[in-house]
């Protein structure tokens, strides 16, 4: 059976009903373990004091904020090329989750910045590109909301997502050129396996990242189901109305 068969809404709903309980339990467990371990079970950093504990929220949220956009990009491409409705709706469902992740990353970063850099906000490239990402999310959601016809909305938002991605990357370079920053370099370079934080901080952090990832997947599954139901309700209503 091809994976595309799950692009059928009904199939998708059955699948999602089956995997969702597992996802929710796992994600909640991971998030809870990671956060509790991180909050209660790790020592203070010699330089940053207790503020390191913010990392367990900040980094997973930042990670998911970017990955959510990436997932939307892939889903948009699938919609544009293969026209599977579930894929378009999944992109729509992911956007608000992405925004919330972005906002969490921004807010925790700002709170962290106050003691560390003495300012809530600095126009550092990493931070700035995040702000721009936030704007792209806003535009994407606003466009979905503004268009009446769901398929047209899916088409247009997909193209916006594509074009937006290109410009987001471009902005990233532009911003780097414009201001060299004070933000941390990446501490979890997956490719090299090297890392800059101690193991004590690292393990709960990884658990949190997994937890946030699973939470994102669970939310997207659930929200996609909601969108499918709303589409179905609208379709039934419209047909009944048109026949009358």
């Amino acid at each position: 059976m091809s994976i595309w068969s799950y692009a059928n809404p009904v199939k998708f709903l059955t699948l999602s009903a089956r995997v969702q309980p597992v996802l929710w339990v796992l994600s909640m467990a991971c998030v809870a373990t990671g956060l509790i371990w991180g909050f209660f079970g790790t020592p203070q950093d010699y330089r940053q004091g207790a503020t390191v504990k913010i990392i367990y929220l900040h980094v997973p949220a930042a990670l998911m904020a970017i990955n959510a956009w990436f997932m939307m990009l892939v889903a948009s491409l699938i919609w544009l090329i293969r026209r599977h409705h579930v894929s378009a709706l999944a992109a729509k469902a992911a956007a608000p989750v992405g925004v919330v992740m972005t906002v969490i990353a921004l807010l925790t970063g700002a709170i962290w910045g106050q003691p560390m850099w003495g300012t809530w906000w600095a126009w550092d490239p990493r931070l700035t590109s995040f702000l721009i990402l936030f704007l792209f999310y806003l535009g994407y959601i606003a466009l979905w909301e503004a268009i009446e016809d769901p398929d047209t909305a899916a088409d247009l938002t997909s193209v916006l997502c594509l074009v937006g991605s290109v410009f987001a990357v471009l902005s990233r370079y532009a911003v780097q050129f414009w201001n060299q920053g004070l933000h941390q370099g990446t501490s979890v370079p997956v490719a090299t396996g090297g890392r800059s934080v101690d193991d004590v901080f690292f393990y709960p952090l990884v658990i949190c990242m997994i937890g946030f990832g699973l939470l994102f997947v669970a939310l997207v599954f659930y929200r996609t189901g909601t969108e499918i139901r709303l589409r179905r309700a609208a379709a039934l209503r419209a047909r009944a109305g048109r026949a009358a």
């Binding site: 300012t119 906000w121 126009w123 503004a146 268009i147 414009w178």
Partner: protein, 218 residues
């Protein structure tokens, strides 16, 4: 009247209605300022109150053209004129709806955006106060501009042109309050002036708007 207010708010909240877009524009202008003048924190702090006021003013301005033009295009305005409503009242209600959907969110969002521009801590309170007192004047004056340009195809930019000079006094006093507040100076005088302008404008402007609208639709 209540019906009109409710309808305007509903329309604003519906898809494509434009609620929150003024806010988004405000956000974006504020974000673009550092890109254009450079990222130095002290410089940004210096210009923050002014930029925020200017941004709020522009966001307000941009949403003006949907205040009357939409109703004109689909013929609603003609029908409203023949309805048993005093036109002055109808226009006041429309200005109120505009403020509720545009001005109020701007007031609430301003402190958050202040963070981005490194606003001095003392400035937050006065920024919010000055915007809360000043933005109603922007909506009412804007309503006059909208009434002036209503018959004109795509009068949007012309509207900006006509309204901007009318906004100057409000902007001067409002930005002055915010700037003095951020600098820790006394703010009573400009704040009083600002409040005076707002009250006068709310009391008198709807009559001018209604007169202008009646002439324009003739």
């Amino acid at each position: 009247m209540r019906a009109l207010l409710i309808r305007d708010l509903t329309l604003a909240l519906r898809a494509g209605g434009g609620f929150g877009l003024g806010l988004a524009f405000f956000l974006i202008v504020t974000v673009l300022v550092p890109f254009s003048v450079g990222p130095q924190a002290e410089l940004l702090q210096l210009i923050a109150p002014g930029v925020l006021w200017l941004g709020a003013l522009l966001a307000c301005l941009l949403s003006l053209d949907r205040l009357l033009a939409l109703d004109f295009e689909d013929g609603t305005l003609d029908l409203l004129l023949t309805a048993p409503l005093p036109l002055e009242g109808a226009l006041s209600v429309k200005a109120l709806a505009h403020w509720l959907t545009t001005g109020l969110p701007l007031v609430l969002a301003a402190p958050v955006l202040g963070v981005l521009l490194n606003l001095a801590p003392a400035g937050y309170l006065w920024l919010v106060v000055s915007l809360a007192v000043g933005t109603p004047a922007l909506s009412v004056i804007g309503c006059f501009g909208a009434a002036l340009t209503v018959g004109i195809k795509r009068g949007g930019l012309l509207l900006s042109l006509l309204v901007l000079p009318l906004y100057v006094p409000t902007l001067i006093f409002g930005a002055e309050v915010a700037r003095r507040g951020a600098g820790g100076q006394e703010v009573a005088t400009p704040l009083l002036m600002l409040a005076g302008i707002t009250c006068a404008v709310i009391a008198l402007m709807p009559f001018a708007s209604a007169a202008v609208l009646r002439m324009g639709l003739r």
